[in-house]
């Protein structure tokens, strides 16, 4: 039976897996203790649960549990990594290298660091969303302390060559930080094999609860330290104060365990559905994939349907299908996605894009329904698009003098 509405926005957030929810529930009512209460069973139970969660989280990324610093989410972990390294390594230098397609949690933190006297290089990306490794290496200078490149992009799913990036970082004695939010739990990520020194990630992108995430901080070879950005009781080895979110951490741990057990089968199932969706939608005229097809997360498809505007397109089916668009028609700036623009897409193509984010609970009949609904709406809107009509008449839209508005 087809279940509506269909959720295909799993890059924004994922539903909590019922098994995760089940694991969390005792930690609200029964085992409500504070993990830092060392002198009674309530605290001991909470601490035990946190320790177990920490192990589960660490295991998924091949880390030692002591290297996991729990935070409120990936945004906080991004902030802690960037600001914490900037402060801790101030005597070594003040230069950070990142890329233009990073998440706002990284870009805006870098902007903040610039105001504090830091220097940031924003590397451009190619039309697939990849940075150029030669350019990266050339950007390193004696004052460089950190390279911050995301594992996989949230809008297009392009996976960066993290191993190669970390090798360059190592060669120059620079720390390597990656925002792993979209990648961890979806594809194999191993902090040692990948040579990662710091990594931010979040529970709610992998079927865990919102409000909990982690920063991985390497302890050996090299021993990395970050200056706390939240002062208080000295929790999390002094790097992040604040009472631990015990039920959240339990859920995060369980979510990691499930991802580890089911990654292979999930990926096989989800990528098959993604490919089915994508190849069917690409049968429409003037439809193009954004980002890398070869190096891409298995559950993401970002497609531009030329001559149709994304928000208008979504309106055709958003009662029944949840996706997102690179068109930012609702924002005051009217600026489309900066990620798509960074790929060199014109604003018009960026406005025409939809992002499909499949997940563990996506079914084949949902994909069949989506193919039909999206195709029908694209065709319907093209019938009422002046641009489509002009394109069909052979008018070169780049040569039209638009009455800019």
């Amino acid at each position: 039976m087809l279940k509506l509405p269909i959720y295909l926005d799993n890059n924004a957030t994922t539903p909590v897996d019922p098994r995760v929810f089940e694991a969390m529930t005792p930690y609200f009512l029964e085992h409500f203790g504070n993990a830092a209460s060392r002198n009674h069973p309530f605290g001991w139970q909470a601490e035990e649960a946190v320790d177990y969660g920490r192990e589960q989280v660490a295991k998924l990324i091949g880390a030692d549990p002591k290297e996991i610093i729990f935070t409120s989410g990936a945004t906080e972990a991004d902030n802690l990594a960037l600001k914490g390294v900037f402060e801790m390594y101030a005597s070594k230098g003040n230069h950070i290298i990142t890329a233009t397609t990073e998440h706002k949690a990284v870009l805006d933190t870098c902007k903040h660091i610039e105001k504090l006297g830091g220097e940031v290089t924003y590397l451009p990306v190619d039309n697939l969303g990849m940075i150029n490794l030669q350019e990266l290496e050339a950007a390193i200078k004696p004052t460089t302390i950190l390279i911050a490149i995301m594992y996989a992009n949230n809008e297009i799913g392009t996976i960066m060559p993290i191993k190669e990036i970390s090798q360059i970082a190592k060669k120059h004695g620079v720390l390597m930080f990656t925002d792993g939010t979209q990648a961890v739990g979806k594809i194999p990520v191993d902090v040692n094999k990948d040579g990662i020194d710091l990594m931010a990630f979040s529970a709610h992108k992998m079927y865990g609860p919102k409000g909990v995430g982690a920063l991985y901080v390497r302890r050996k070879g090299p021993r990395v330290k970050v200056t706390a950005q939240m002062d208080g009781g000295g929790h999390e080895r002094g790097m992040r104060s604040g009472t631990l979110n015990v039920p959240g951490i339990v859920g995060f741990g369980k979510a990691c365990e499930l991802c580890m057990q089911e990654m292979q089968s999930d990926t096989e199932k989800i990528s098959k559905l993604r490919d089915k969706l994508e190849s069917a939608l690409l049968k429409l005229e003037e439809a193009y994939v954004n980002g890398s097809i070869e190096h891409r997360l298995p559950h993401v498809a970002n497609i531009s349907f030329k001559y149709v505007e994304g928000e208008g397109l979504m309106m055709g089916f958003n009662k029944n299908i949840a996706v997102s668009s690179g068109s930012a028609c609702t924002s005051a700036s009217l600026e489309p996605s900066y990620v798509l623009k960074a790929l060199g897409l014109g604003d018009d193509l960026a406005h025409s894009s939809l992002r499909f984010g499949l997940g563990r609970f996506t079914t084949e009949d949902q994909i069949d329904y989506t193919i039909k609904a999206v195709s029908d709406t694209v065709n319907k809107l093209r019938d009422m698009s002046p641009l489509w009509e002009m394109f069909k008449e052979g008018v070169d839209l780049n040569k039209v003098e638009w009455a800019a508005h």
Binding site: C329, T330, P386, W402, H405
Partner: protein, 139 residues
């Protein structure tokens, strides 16, 4: 952001989608907006040459639901009005009728601009001077 019932209705059942023969002397065409901005509207009017009444109006729009609804509504309002009456259509009337939120006011501005552009095209084709309009306030 939720759309108003009226926007949803115009989006799903747009009125007067289509193309008039722009080669005809009594047809005026207005094309406004730009693909980079995420909306382009083309609005056309066909005018009865003796009474100067707009007998037909058609649109095609590339844009969000509010842009489609604004142009659909504009074509409905244009039909049966004289050219001079059509000039009185104000974007805020569209905002009110469709219950557009502040971020979508530019869609109504675009529709008003499209009406004016279509009328000017008609005037020019028929040997009349083009009207100049005050720059729209909201862009």
């Amino acid at each position: 952001m939720a759309y108003s019932e009226k926007v949803i209705d115009h989006y799903h059942n747009p009125k007067n989608v289509g193309t008039l023969d722009k080669g005809k002397k009594n047809v005026g065409t207005g094309l406004v907006g730009a693909p980079e901005c995420g909306d382009v509207m083309r609005l056309q009017i066909e005018v009865d040459e003796t009474s100067r009444v707009i007998t037909d109006a058609k649109f095609k729009t590339f844009g969000c639901g509010s842009a489609i609804a604004s142009s659909s509504l504009a074509t409905e309002w244009l039909k049966g009005r004289t050219v001079d009456e059509a000039l009185k259509i104000d974007n805020m009337d569209i905002v009110e009728e469709l219950n557009l939120p502040p971020v979508k006011i530019h869609c109504s501005v675009l529709a008003e601009d499209a009406i004016k552009a279509a009328i000017n095209d008609y005037r020019e084709k028929n040997g009349m001077e083009k009207l100049t309009f005050k720059e729209s306030v909201v862009h």
